[in-house]
Structure formats: C-alpha cells, structure tokens
C-alpha cells in the first residue's frame, strides 16, 4: 500500500523528525511504501503532487496546522498528535491501511487523476518557496497569466470571428453594427437565419469571456501567493479593479493585495475551535472584505484621479501639434493594453466620433480614431511577429499565445498583448510603447481617418487614406517586434539562470 504523511510540531526541531522516522520505520516494517513531508524548522520539501495522487491514505502526525492541507483532499486521512505518531507509529500505520480499505470509491491508480483540486497543486508547485523575491514575483505573475490565457484566447477569438462574420454578412458596417445588437435580442429573439444574429451571439459570448480576464488574472496571482484561500479575494478584487476602471494593472494590484491579505490571515494563530472554519468561512470573508474595501476606497480614487487628469491633459493638447498628440495617444494605447490609460485614449477617440458628424472639425476626430485603432493593434501584432522571429526568447505558452495574437491584433484587441506584458512588464511594455508611438505619430502625420470605433483590420474598407495607414501599421508592428527581441536578448542571461534554477529548487 502507498502511504504519505505530514509531520509537524510547535518548535519544529525534534518531534517533527522523530515522528517522520518512526512512521517510515513502522510503514516499511509492515511492507508499505511511505513518504513523509517534515514541516519543521529545517524547511519543508513538499511531497510531489504525483506521489500524493498515488497514495492510498494520508497520515497527519501534527500538533500545528498542516501547511497546504488542500493537497490531500479526497484522500482517506488519519490525523493524530505528533507524539502519538512517535510512540504508536505501528498502530497509526495500521489505522491508515484500514482507512484506505474502507475508503469509498478508490481513486484510479497512477498520478494522472488529481483529486479535489484540479491542477491546482501542480501549478502551485511552480512557485518555489526558497527562490529570490524577484523570481517569486515573476512566478506569481506567471501563474496568474497561465490561468488567464484561456480566457483571452476564447474571448478574443470569438469577438474576432464575430467581426469577420458580420463583415461577410453585412459588408462595411457589419463589424460596427454587430456590437449594437443587444444581448437581450440574442437571448429573446434569436433568428437562426440571420447571419448578424450569429455574429452577435459570438460577440456576446466572447465579451463575457473577456470579462473574466482581469478577475482570473488577479484570482490566480492571489492563488499562487496564498494557495486556495487567495482565490476569492483575488477574483473579487480583480472584478472591482475592472469596475473602478483600473484595468489589468489594477488586477495585478488586486491579485497581490488579495494574496497577501489571505496569506496573512491564514498564518494567524487561532484557537483550535475556530481553526476548522478558518479556510471555509473566516479567511474568504475577511480577506475579501479587506481586499475589496482597499480596492474601492483606497485605490479606486487615485486611479480615477489619474484617468481624469490624463483626459484633461489630452483635451488641452488637441489644438496643438497633432503629430505629438498621435505619438502620445500611441504611447497611451500601449501602456496598459486595455487598462485605464488605454481606455482614456480610446474614449477620447470614440467621444470625438460622435461630434464628427455635425462638427466641421470632423477630420481631426476621425484622424484620432484612426491613430488610436492602429496604435492599439500593433502591440499584439508586434508580439506575434516577435514570437515568430525569435521563438527561443519566449516560453511555450507565450509562443502559443503568439499565434492567437495575430488574430487579436488584427481585430484591435490590444488585450492580446497582456499575457506577454504581465510576465515580463519591464521589457515588453516599453517595446509596445515605442511601436505604438511610432504608428500613432505616423497615422496622424499621414492624416488617415476612420469612422468606426472598433473592428481592426475588418473595417479597413472604412478607412480614409488606407495605404499610408497600413504602412504605419506595418512599421509599428515591425518596430515593436524588433525592440521586444532586442530587450529580451539584453536580459537573457539572468533569465536563463533563473529558469535553469527552477527545476532544481522545485525538486
């Protein structure tokens, strides 16, 4: 029979190890395989998830809370005080064997089928506890990003497909009209013969999937930091970041905030009677309350203030040098890829569209729209190109995301760049800003115009001055890719030692 055990004691220097040795001796004497995780002062090496998955029963010989107890969920568990594990190890082993025999519906053998927590433990083990601070911050971010990517892919591609279909069905205006079909229309009056209704269906599913992007990022950053207790405060904090207009940067902030609040709460010493309800009720409740309150009351106002100030600055500038405005808008579009700064520039452009129909200064508003759209397309396009130019500089999930980024960029979904930026913000964001700034300045200089608020390449027929526009787009894409590749190569050496160290530390 396969057994795993965790031992721990208040001081962590004596009983923890005595109990481990006693259980190992007794287990082997009785002919079982046993592996023990000692959660003592000399540091704990977590049991590999596949060993836990393959175990028939679990023994906790503990006087303090088992760290990361969720890993053992769904297994038959025998829990005894640590002294009992030392003095009666043989009897405890016998109890565990008994518990395994009486367990309902045994899990399929082999490590492939994790119980209870789907993939969670495997991903959490990506974070190495004794790595340096910078490495751990990166690992937390990457955990969040790896859970976010499926939302970006599903949502973004559905939206792009929606635009393509609408374009095919209704011509030029299709990609604009489809966003005007309400979700109620789709739900209540769906017409299976209408191509536009199918497009709207895709659009709303995609948009809904997109709404999970920032909460999932925040939730799983918090998960990486604090394990399962972090998920709720992270998700709620991330959702609030969206509500207050803090975008994906706010989501990262919410993830760290929720994670550390949950971690701090989980490490509180609490009376034994309360311990049982801590992970189920107390930690989610208190951590979510604290994280949500801070996101709303403390962080919400400064973020809104920053957005308002930026908007005011933009309004004051529009009369002066339009090329500079184009560069600034380009920088803003790339800065946070769908976050508040990006949204300020985008809102500035679309707000102008509404006045363009009546005002005589219509040209400027339409140029701004063209500028903003082109500058918002180069970040994903440039990164997609970069993953093709130098695949070795990117991780496997990033390369896969690069394929999706072509479509996302072509559809003016700047968020397609977020997975790259979240994993390596200091190199990726400046690169995106350079490319978008160039594109923005050029489109403004060429004087291309656009009447559609959205749609990417699919609304190309609506663009006035289309050839210079496309030249500016291609130039920005190429520049973005070249700068990303260059910066990634500059920072390559430290990155390599980090990745080389990870498997060692995790083993």
């Amino acid at each position: 029979m396969r057994l795993v055990a965790v031992t721990s004691c208040p001081t962590g220097i004596a009983h923890t190890y005595m109990a481990a040795e006693a259980l190992e001796q007794a287990g082997r004497a009785a002919g079982h395989e046993i592996q023990v995780e000692t959660q003592g002062a000399a540091g704990a090496t977590p049991l590999p998830p596949e060993v836990i998955a393959a175990a028939d029963a679990v023994i906790f010989g503990v006087d303090v809370e088992v760290r990361d107890r969720y890993r053992f969920e769904g297994k038959p568990i025998v829990q005894v005080p640590v002294k009992k594990a030392i003095s009666d190890a043989a009897a405890i082993i016998e109890q565990a064997v008994e518990a395994a025999r009486n367990a309902p519906a045994p899990e399929p053998a082999g490590g492939a089928a994790p119980t209870g927590a789907p993939r969670g433990p495997a991903l959490a083990s990506k974070v190495t506890s004794d790595a340096g601070t910078a490495t751990r911050v990166r690992q937390w971010l990457m955990t969040g990003v790896s859970y976010m990517i499926p939302f970006v892919a599903a949502g973004g591609i559905l939206i792009a497909l929606s635009f393509m279909l609408a374009q095919a069905v209704s011509g030029k205006q299709g990609a604009i009209d489809v966003t005007k079909i309400s979700i109620d229309t789709v739900a209540q009056h769906f017409d299976a013969t209408s191509g536009m209704h199918w497009a709207a269906l895709l659009f709303w599913i995609g948009k809904t999937s997109f709404n999970f992007l920032v909460p999932a990022l925040a939730g799983f950053i918090a998960f990486a930091i604090a394990d399962r207790p972090g998920i709720v405060p992270g998700f709620v904090g991330g959702s609030l970041a969206v509500t207050v207009g803090a975008g994906f940067l706010g989501g990262i902030a919410a993830g760290f905030l929720g994670g550390f609040v949950a971690l701090w709460l989980a490490r509180r010493a609490v009376p034994k009677a309360v311990r049982g309800v801590m992970p189920v009720v107390v930690i989610p409740l208190v951590a979510t309350l604290l994280t949500g309150a801070i996101m709303l009351v403390v962080l919400g106002r400064p973020l809104k203030w920053v957005s308002d100030e930026l908007k005011r600055g933009l309004d004051g500038m529009s009369g002066t040098n339009l090329v500079i405005l184009g560069i600034v808008l380009g920088l803003m579009m790339a800065f946070d890829m769908g976050g508040p700064v990006n949204k300020v520039a985008y809102t500035f452009a679309t707000a102008g569209l509404q006045t363009a129909a009546t005002s005589t200064g219509a040209d400027t508003a339409l140029k701004i729209m063209a500028t903003v759209m082109a500058a918002g397309m180069t970040p994903p396009l440039g990164l997609a190109l970069a993953t093709r130019l130098r695949p070795s500089l990117f991780t496997e999930p990033e390369r896969e995301n690069g394929n999706a980024a072509w479509l996302l960029g072509a559809s003016f979904i700047t968020e397609g760049a977020i997975p790259f930026a979240a994993g390596d913000p200091l190199r990726v964001i400046p690169s995106l800003m350079v490319g978008s700034g160039v594109t923005g300045g050029l489109v403004m200089a060429f004087g291309s115009t656009l009447r559609a608020p959205h749609g990417g390449l699919w609304v190309t027929p609506l663009i006035g001055g289309v050839f210079p526009y496309l030249i500016a787009l291609v130039l920005g894409t190429v520049i973005t890719a070249l700068v990303v590749v260059t910066l990634k190569q500059l920072g390559r050496r430290p990155l390599e030692t980090v990745t080389a160290g990870e498997p060692l530390a995790a083993a």
């Binding site: 001081t11 220097i13 190890y17 005595m18």
Partner: protein
C-alpha cells in the same frame, strides 16, 4: 561547522530530583561552553516549550528543546539519569535526556543536523549504545558517528 556535542556537554550518572533540575544542569554546561549566551533566558524558552506539553517519550527518554535567541549554534546536551526523573511520558521516568538547543534565526540548513539527531532518537540501537557508553568520550563518539545530516 561547530560540533553538535562535546565531552563537556555530557553528564553521566546525574543525580537530580526533577526535570527542571536536569535541564538546568545541562544548560549550565551549554552556557559554560559558549553555546548559550543567557542561561535564564534559554531556560525560560525551554520551559515554555515544556509547558505546552512535556517532551518525555516512551523508552525512557526526555527531549527538552527550544529554538532560542540565546543559542549560538545547534547544540546537544546529553545526560544519563540512572534513577530516572518524570518527564511526562506514559510508560515511566526518563533515564536518557537530550537537551536540544537551536538558534532562533539563521538559515534552515544548519538545523538539518538536529533533524538528523531527532531521527536517530527513534532507533533503539542508538539509545542502547548511549546507555552502554562507558564514558563521555564514548557518548560523543556514538553521537558523532550516528548523527550525520
């Protein structure tokens, strides 16, 4: 790395009335050897652990221990108490006492020596060898030989 145990940290044929006295006699040796900087402070830390739950274990052993800011290096003090003192174990008094002193801070790697010591305590052969050791040097030899991180 400093040695886990020295001849001066071994007390054979100790005559003491209770576990407080045994602990103090051992701790005095640790202080004399420079392993403990504040005798009373260290004893208070050991007592705090002992009050949570006595550290006596079946087989006649007591393992008073603490992580303490007054400890300079991982150190073991060992005493044989032939008449035995009550250490809270169910099966009777302790005749072998291991005072384990761990420094409060510092990296975890040098605590692995104490983890290895704790694992050896389980083995009857280790306890028998200590019981049979003719003098302090023999005790130190047994422990140094058997306890390797």
């Amino acid at each position: 790395m400093t040695a886990l145990i020295l001849n001066d940290l071994v007390l054979l044929d100790l005559d003491a009335d209770d576990r407080t006295e045994v602990t103090r006699r051992l701790a005095e040796r640790l202080a004399a050897a420079g392993r403990v900087t504040d005798l009373d402070g260290f004893l208070a830390d050991v007592r705090a652990r002992e009050e949570q739950m006595p550290t006596g274990l079946p087989g006649g052993i007591g393992i008073p221990h603490a992580r303490s800011a007054f400890v300079t290096a991982p150190t073991l003090g060992f005493a044989r108490v032939p008449k035995g003192v009550d250490w809270g174990a169910e099966d009777g008094p302790a005749t072998l006492v291991f005072l384990i002193a761990a420094p409060e801070g510092g990296g975890s790697e040098h605590l692995t020596i104490l983890a290895a010591l704790a694992r050896r305590l389980i083995h009857a052969s280790f306890r028998d060898a200590l019981m049979a050791a003719p003098d302090e040097a023999a005790v130190v030899a047994v422990i140094t030989r058997e306890v390797t991180p």
